[in-house]
């Protein structure tokens, strides 16, 4: 059971409990603010006061990041004998149409996330642009999936609802309109 993929009705409530424990520790559940802390640690305060923060006050969240790296290692290498993600047949067919032969057979598409894929300059560009959009977007919106979709909506915050609607507008545009242009040819 532990070694199978965990069902949504187990995983979702566990995520909520993680959020509640962080609140009970006097903290909050938000993973993207760490990106700003990385900038501050890297000396971005020289460019703008925005990054002149007390890094020590963010240390707890960096420890959560450190733990999540370890958790990812355990999840992948200890708790998952079979990495294949059992997505629906329709999704597999659509992805094969876009050239993703690894659909249904891997945890991440090998066409983007294998070392062999990095021999293609286009893959570097895709990964880098995707990262910049996530990092810029999440700080502009003041939160990501954890900060807005889970923490903000759990606290019934209207701004978080606007942000989550934005997440879906962007995601649907990328998935339905841009994917055929990026991967279809």
């Amino acid at each position: 059971m532990l070694y199978q993929p965990w069902p949504w009705y187990v995983s979702g409530p566990l995520i909520a409990i993680i959020m509640a424990v962080l609140i009970l520790l006097g903290k909050k559940f938000g993973m993207s603010s760490n990106l700003e802390t990385f900038c501050s640690v890297g000396g971005a305060g020289k460019f703008t006061d925005y990054f002149k923060i007390d890094v020590k006050s963010k240390r707890w969240n960096l420890l959560v990041v450190l733990g999540s790296v370890f958790g990812g290692f355990l999840g992948a290498h200890v708790l998952s004998p079979n990495p294949a993600v059992d997505i629906t047949a329709e999704t597999v067919a659509k992805l094969q149409g876009l050239g993703f032969e690894s659909a249904g057979k891997a945890y991440l598409p090998t066409e983007l996330f294998s070392l062999e894929a990095l021999s293609q300059p286009m893959v570097w560009i895709i990964l880098l642009v995707a990262g910049v959009l996530v990092g810029f977007g999440t700080r502009y919106a003041g939160g990501c999936t954890s900060g807005h979709a889970i923490s903000g909506l759990s606290n019934l915050q209207r701004p978080s609802l606007i942000a989550v609607i934005g997440f879906f507008i962007g995601g649907l545009i990328m998935n339905h309109l841009l994917f055929p242009l990026i991967f279809g040819s």
Binding site: G67, V69, G137
Partner: protein, 137 residues
């Protein structure tokens, strides 16, 4: 001692997000195609439990484990930043198939190309910090 608590929470988060497959690019694609209930189930059930827990904590005026008053701040009132920032985030989320939490988790799982995404995300956060004075909020 406190450090250990945060590392354990992070480790648990990493295992949950990996094992739920919320850290899988394929699940994110499937979600935006509306082909499966899985991701909606995760987010929906997290919210159902989350709303109740947050309300309980707020109404009971529980102190934190360290005896401090718990303050859950409201999000600053605005519209443009949430919608535009959200759309940009969504474009990246669908393309990378990972939001910030899973980026750290996938690094631990050994999918090294995710480091390019993580580097890009840090650059993106830096660009926001530099340009924020010129952006509509």
């Amino acid at each position: 001692m406190k450090s250990i608590i945060y590392i354990i929470i992070g480790t648990f988060l990493g295992i949950v997000l990996y094992k739920s497959e919320a850290a899988s690019w394929f699940r994110i694609y499937e979600m935006f195609q509306f082909d499966s209930f899985h991701m909606y189930g995760i987010i929906g059930s997290a919210l159902a439990v989350g709303v109740v827990l947050v309300q309980l904590i707020k109404r009971s005026k529980t102190k934190s484990f360290f005896g401090e008053t718990i303050n859950i701040p409201n999000k600053e009132k605005a519209f443009t930043r949430y919608l535009l920032g959200g759309i940009l985030f969504g474009l990246g989320w669908a393309l990378a198939g990972a939001c910030p939490g899973p980026m750290y988790i996938l690094t631990g799982a050994g999918y090294w190309p995710i480091l390019i995404v993580l580097f890009g995300a840090t650059v993106g956060a830096f660009l926001y910090g530099v340009l924020r004075g010129k952006l509509p909020h």
